[in-house]
Amino acid sequence: MVVPPRPTGSILRSDARSHRRRDEALDRARTLTRTVAVASAAAVAGGALYLSHAIPGHTSATTGTPSSQTVPSTGAPAGTGTGGTAAGSSGTLSPPATTPAPAQSPAPVVSGAS
């Protein structure tokens, strides 16, 4: 039976070099991944900041999200009455819940220009 020769010292040194090359490659990949992640985050934040100032007349959030149209909650009448549609706070002008009806009795108040 032929016994194969034991690895020599030069072969051991070759394995060490390949391991070092592998580790170096992994380091480069890790650095590249980190760089891409940081650059992406910076690009998103920069784009959001640009958009928040590029659409004036709208509110902008300072957390880096793109600006969004103002949706105030203060223009609506109470939600308990039938007039409580989201008027004043929605993206459209809301029609009345009940339309005006003709009346015959005297009016205590008058709608007119002031």
Binding site: T62, Q69, P77, G83, A87, L93, A103, V109
Partner: protein, 312 residues
């Protein structure tokens, strides 16, 4: 609930603010004192933040900054500015909060009581207003940034917003049906079946309105050239500004009355209609807003479900 029977039980409270008539009607007479107290609190609150003629108002702090830098503002003013910008956005800029300088150019740079006798000067050349898009609101920081040459005027929407707030608060605290009229811009809140009888006329202090209707919860507003007009030198001018020219509106309508889901929306639509001119009826109809429009020559047109031709 029948409007006529309700009418017999309502109580009315009247005062003045911002050079105009303020009226409060409650369906439960026992709620009158509380409702009047709420009314005055909200009038004071809005006056402190948005009165262009009050030197210490928060709005004037923004207008006086003129640096183009963000100015921190209270939540109240921020919300009021947001309502104004929303009105502008929904009307294609016809209702614009940056008309302050245009109003000053035609003499409306002080309380109307001092302007109404007439002011010296000449009609200026057309100059578009800076435009609502130049107003930047930062909700998180509660700041507003306007151009260095911009003066904000929140007259129309701030008044309507106050009416909505008063009506909402009165109903929430007292349970009474309530109608609030600030210079003819009305907000109604209350139980679903509450109704109030109101007149519709060119001006809010008309003694004999040509039309009478009942309205329920929501808003009713009238814009027109029949009030807040004065002489600038020898030129008759009024307070409704066309943002495209920076000059008083000169369209076909004398008065536009609109019913909507809130006073803010009704006022926004009526003011925009005055600015738009002939396209207004189609614009209102497309939004399902009942309206009554009176031409300069007195002819009347109705839009949507407005009870045309019915008079009280």
């Amino acid at each position: 609930m029948a409007a006529a029977s309700l009418e017999e039980r309502t109580t009315r409270y009247r005062t003045t603010a911002w050079s105009t008539r303020v009226e409060l009607v409650v369906s439960d007479p026992g709620a009158t004192v509380a409702a009047a107290s709420i009314l005055h609190a909200e009038l004071d609150r809005m006056d402190r933040i948005a009165n262009r003629f009050r030197p210490d108002s928060e709005l004037n702090r923004v207008n006086d900054a003129r640096t183009g830098a963000p100015v921190p503002v209270s939540t109240d003013l921020f919300d009021t500015l947001a309502v104004a910008c929303r009105a502008a956005a929904l009307t294609g800029g016809a209702v614009d909060p940056t008309v302050g300088d245009a109003l000053c150019r035609i003499g409306y740079d002080r309380d109307f009581a001092e302007v109404s006798p007439g002011v010296a000067g000449h009609l200026p050349s057309p100059l578009p207003v800076p435009g609502w898009r130049s107003v930047e609101l930062d909700e998180e920081r509660s700041t507003v940034r306007v151009g260095a040459a911009t003066t904000l005027d929140l007259g129309a929407t701030a008044k309507a917003l106050t009416a909505d707030r008063v009506a909402r608060t009165v109903f929430a605290r007292t349970g009474s049906g309530v109608l609030v009229s600030l210079g003819g811009d009305m907000a109604v809140d209350g139980p679903a079946d509450v109704r109030f009888v109101v007149g519709v006329a060119d001006v809010c202090d008309a003694e004999d309105p040509p039309e009478t209707v009942t309205i329920g919860p929501g808003g009713l507003a009238t814009s027109g050239v029949g009030s807040r007009h004065w002489l600038l030198g020898r030129h008759p001018v009024h307070h409704l500004i066309d943002p495209r020219t920076g000059l008083p509106v000169g369209g076909p309508w004398r008065t536009v009355t609109v019913a909507a889901g809130s006073c803010v929306d009704a006022n926004t639509a009526s003011t925009a209609s005055m600015v738009m001119g002939e396209p207004a009826p189609g614009w209102l109809a497309a939004r399902g807003l009942p309206a009554r429009l009176v031409r300069v020559d007195g002819r009347t047109a109705s839009v949507g479900d407005w009870p045309s031709g019915r008079q009280g």
